[in-house]
Amino acid sequence: MRRGITRRTLLRGAGSVAIGLPFLEEMGLPRAGAQEAAAPARLVTISFGLGIPAEQAELELEGPLEPLAPFAGKLACFSGLDMGQAHSYGSGTTHFKTGDVLFVGEPQKNEYTAAGPSLEQLMLRELHPAGAPTRLSSLSAGLWFTYGAPSRYVCHWNYDGSPGPAPIRRPTRLFAQLFGESMPSSGSEPDRARRARVQRSILDTVLEEYRFAVGERSYLGAESKAKLRIHLDGIRNVEQRLIPTETPLMPETPGCAAPAAIQDPDGLPYDQETPDTPQLPGVFKPHSAPMDHLAYLEAFKLQAELFALALRCDLTRFGSLLVTDKGGNLQFKGQYTGAAVGSIDFDVETATDSIHNELFHRQRLPEIARYQHFTMTGVASALAAFDDPMFVEANGKTVLDNTLVVIGTEYGLDHGLSGVFHAVAGGHGHFKPGFYRQQANVIDLYDTLLKPYGIRSGIGTRHATFRHTPQELTAILA
């Protein structure tokens, strides 16, 4: 069985490939220098559940963060962040509240709605107010098996705070998203060109209806218009995926060649139903059957490779990857060993309970380190896919260098909301690598990250009391 996208498939025998970058006028970066100006602004979040206790993040690369070592020169890590604002929202268990604050910054509006957009959607809207310049406005992929409120698995929050799509679980479905699919025919079958014109006429009429509905003469209120605008953005996807044109969906450059059909690694419940049942603290309810931990990492790696393909071929510039869901009750099989932290036998540790309860609720720090070392192996596979030196961009940098990658989690010290770990990779050279222990709120970090892109985030304006002084992490700015 083929389980990955081989470089051979992608390169078709080519050597290192310089991928063409989008036109300058579509780029969102300030023209600080020629090299930076050649790279489009991209932002991808990578999230994982349950957190890394601050004392373990402070071991730097000699603890659970060890798998990130190959990227140390491109990585800024934070161990002292605070997400206490998650408690501002009234009811419910904390995991769905922190899930809403992660990459958004402010306490959620309600059980199903965040206070505003996640970072990548914020950058998308701020830099491209007329709509994304790419075929897919954004992309969300990852592995999740939890129940309950969407914040446990959704990473994409729209501009109005409504949840975006659940991450695509099956690598094969992600593949279809990138490489397109066919449209059922309606009525008699005209020739290809005529059919395209017919479809175009239909879609143009539809688009005009949406433009009117969100326009100044519409009778709809602001909230409804925001909802329709998101739908309008999605019609671009329809346009480019379903209307047959002579233009291929993927750029015809070597690095963007369609790999041969891929297969989903066996053993994961990709199609598991996710009933919306409340998850109570202390109640063991496994969210899936035990999963082979190697198959899990393999599936995530495959997703990350497809995601990297989408970035370097400019199918999208914004998105999110989910390594493990937030507050999930996962169970794994097999034994995992991290050089710096030792081994964890998942068969034993999750025989009768989940990782969540067995390790985190009981605060078994050595085992937590081993488990999150496993998670970081997943994160590292994504960074490796982005940082693949076989695919340098026109400015001589890798996709990782030319992408702001924000890595974050929901919990920190003592399974609480202080000492929360985040990291930043790539970022167009705007940030200084290193380990930062400074106490700050996640809002401060998010604001600081967006500033070099000319974005005043507005995050935290309603909740300024959560900020720390001096409200910016200037030490990380290059």
Binding site: H87, Y89, G90, S91, G92, T93, T94, N110, E111, Y112, H156, S162, P163, G164, P165, A166, P184, S186, G187, S188, P190, R197, V198, S201, I202, T205, V206, E208, Y210, A213, E216, R217, Y219, L220, G221, A222, E223, S224, L228, I230, D233, G234, I235, N237, R241, L242, D271, P275, D276, P278, L280, P281, G282, V283, K285, N357, R362, Q363, D414, L417
Partner: protein
């Protein structure tokens, strides 16, 4: 067609078309607001079920479950939004995939529709070759958009027909193309109301088309039929008090139609949560059978017997099919749903003792009482649990470890001894004691558990938190619990609140809570059955009026 409407001077054309794309309806002449404040409107995307129903009712196209399944490119199933029901406009997910799914389905429906039949139903289109595209656009548009097209819309879709004809498509295929576009247009995909019409400082009654739409989506989960639209068009129906008699007549007509069964199915599905059953051994087929049996139980009670809603809590007639009867070790009957008289089974009292409801409460093992108590409080009393204190998860894990050998009830009694736990748990846990002899599938365990320990089911209800705990109404068994629930004003108000939220397609809020009590009173006065509830809900101002979300667009009324 729009021009024709304008020439006729009909209210519809004033509302939606003609020169200025809108003007105030007659319903605005008198404003609501002497009573409780009403809500502003919010665009709600059609659910898969609504999509399927409209395709069937308006276009005669039957969409199967696989047509609508995501795997086949269908519309993603809505999760319940901020409220209990999936038809709520609040908090709907929005993503790239949705327009794509609507586009795929639109193409599929346009391919399968009997276009000749559709054209034959349009005045002036006796056959599929007559040049009647304007009439076709106007007629189809009104059915799909649930109101007449504006002049702009009429022109746009007629122009589309012309463009497709110019590409060489036949008249009928060009009509299919128009249909495909309409099925993706915002006026079809979203339930829209004129949110910015009228004086922004005061609420207004719905116009006839808005009301017709609310009514049909509430009772049929579908678009209005021709009769509703015609009444709206001649101003015989709107949200104003003057139109209440006509509204009541239409409610009676819609309730008499078999499509009204969709309302109870949707309500019961989301209320019971049966599709979320996760007990060991459950299969999709069994989940589906449990839901069907639960719905059949409610249908038999409300539709066939016409019994009061509150008596759902005490009914001794529960429906089961073969698989659900076997689950409970009852004697299976022939295929299909059958009403069982469960009077000989003291544990089976009322619809909440149906395994479809119990299984829908989830499959918690440790913490079952807590889980069930919160579920019951949320669904029966419309109260949400308070914020959990910091560090609770670790405390709970320790507690459960410490008392791992105790029964659920014994653990609950330990919590009663801890003031910090019981301050919150007292609000809901005692409600669940009565269910302690049911397993996660709703099977009866008996008076003792597998280890021979007693499973007491006495407790008290917590509907009135102003009472001291010792003064709260107590029950000794399931029959007494259900009798208390049936008589509780809090619970009857909560049922009214659910109906109000479902009827308006919004998550429940303080506004729905405020209307719930008067609706309950009206319901009781009218006999307490389903038609009485529906009449009480639709005649409330919450259903008939909206608060403008802001000033009208410049130059518009």
């Amino acid at each position: 067609m729009a021009q024709r409407l304008c020439a006729l001077g009909l209210q519809a054309s004033v509302l939606y078309g003609c020169a200025d794309e809108g003007a105030g309806p007659a319903a605005e002449a008198e404003a609501p607001g002497r009573g409780l404040p009403v809500r502003s409107s919010l665009a709600g995307r059609l659910t898969p079920a609504q999509h399927r129903n409209i395709a069937s009712d308006v276009l005669g196209v039957e969409l199967s479950a696989s047509d609508l399944a995501v795997a086949g490119g269908g519309i993603p199933q809505e999760q319940p939004s901020t409220g209990l029901f999936r038809n709520g406009a609040d908090g709907q997910a929005a993503a790239d995939d949705y327009p794509l799914a609507f586009a795929r389905l639109a193409a599929q429906i346009a391919t399968r529709v009997d276009i000749s039949g559709l054209l034959a139903g349009v005045a002036g289109c006796a056959d599929a070759v007559s040049p009647c595209e304007q009439a076709f656009v106007a007629d189809l548009g009104k059915r799909l958009f649930r109101r007449p097209l504006s002049a702009r819309e009429s022109e746009a879709f007629t122009a589309l027909h012309g463009a497709l004809r110019a590409e060489g498509l036949s008249f009928a295929d060009a009509c299919r193309g128009v249909l495909e576009a309409m099925l993706q247009a915002p006026a079809f995909v979203f339930r829209l109301e004129r949110e910015l019409s009228g004086d922004p400082a005061r609420a207004r009654y719905l116009d006839g088309f808005e009301l017709a739409s609310r009514l049909s989506f509430f009772l049929w989960d579908s678009a209005p039929d021709r009769e509703l639209l015609e009444l709206a068009e001649v101003q015989a129906l709107d949200g104003s008090p003057a139109a209440l008699p006509a509204l009541r007549r239409q409610v009676a007509r819609l309730l008499a139609d078999p499509r009204a069964r969709r309302m109870t199915r949707e309500l019961v599905r989301d209320f019971a949560g049966t599709e979320r059953a996760a007990f060991v051994g459950v299969t999709p087929a069994l989940r589906s059978a449990l839901l069907d049996s639960m719905v059949a139980t409610v249908d038999a009670h409300l539709w066939e017997e016409g019994a009061p809603i509150r008596e759902l809590f005490t009914t001794r007639k529960l429906s089961f099919d073969r698989s659900t009867a076997e689950l409970l070790d009852l004697t299976p009957m022939a295929e299909g749903q059958h009403l069982y008289d469960v009077s000989p089974l003291p544990e089976r009292v009322g619809w909440l003792s149906h395994p479809g409801f119990i299984a829908g409460m989830g499959d918690a093992q440790v913490g079952k009482l807590v889980h069930r108590g919160i579920t019951l409080m949320t669904k029966l009393m419309c109260r949400q649990p308070i914020q959990l204190p910091d560090g609770l998860e670790a405390t709970t894990a320790d507690f459960n470890t410490m008392y791992a050998d105790l029964t659920e009830r014994q653990r609950s009694e330990e919590r009663q001894k801890r003031g910090d736990c019981w301050a919150c748990h007292a609000q809901f846990e005692p409600l669940a004691y009565g269910f302690d002899r049911f397993d996660a599938a709703g099977r009866y365990l008996g008076a003792l558990d597998a280890q021979g320990r007693a499973l007491p089911i006495d407790g008290w209800i917590t509907d009135d938190l102003s009472l001291e705990e010792a003064a709260r109404p107590r029950y000794a068994d399931m029959a007494e619990l259900m009798a208390l629930l049936a008589d509780s004003e809090t619970i009857q108000s909560c049922m009214a609140e659910h109906f109000l939220a479902f009827a308006t397609g919004r998550a429940s809020s303080e506004i729905e809570k405020a209307f719930a009590s008067p609706v309950r009173v009206a319901l009781e006065r009218a006999g307490g059955d389903l038609p009485a509830m529906v009449q009480a809900v639709v005649t409330s101002e919450l259903f008939r009026a909206l608060a403008p979300a802001g000033p009208a667009p410049e130059g518009q009324p």
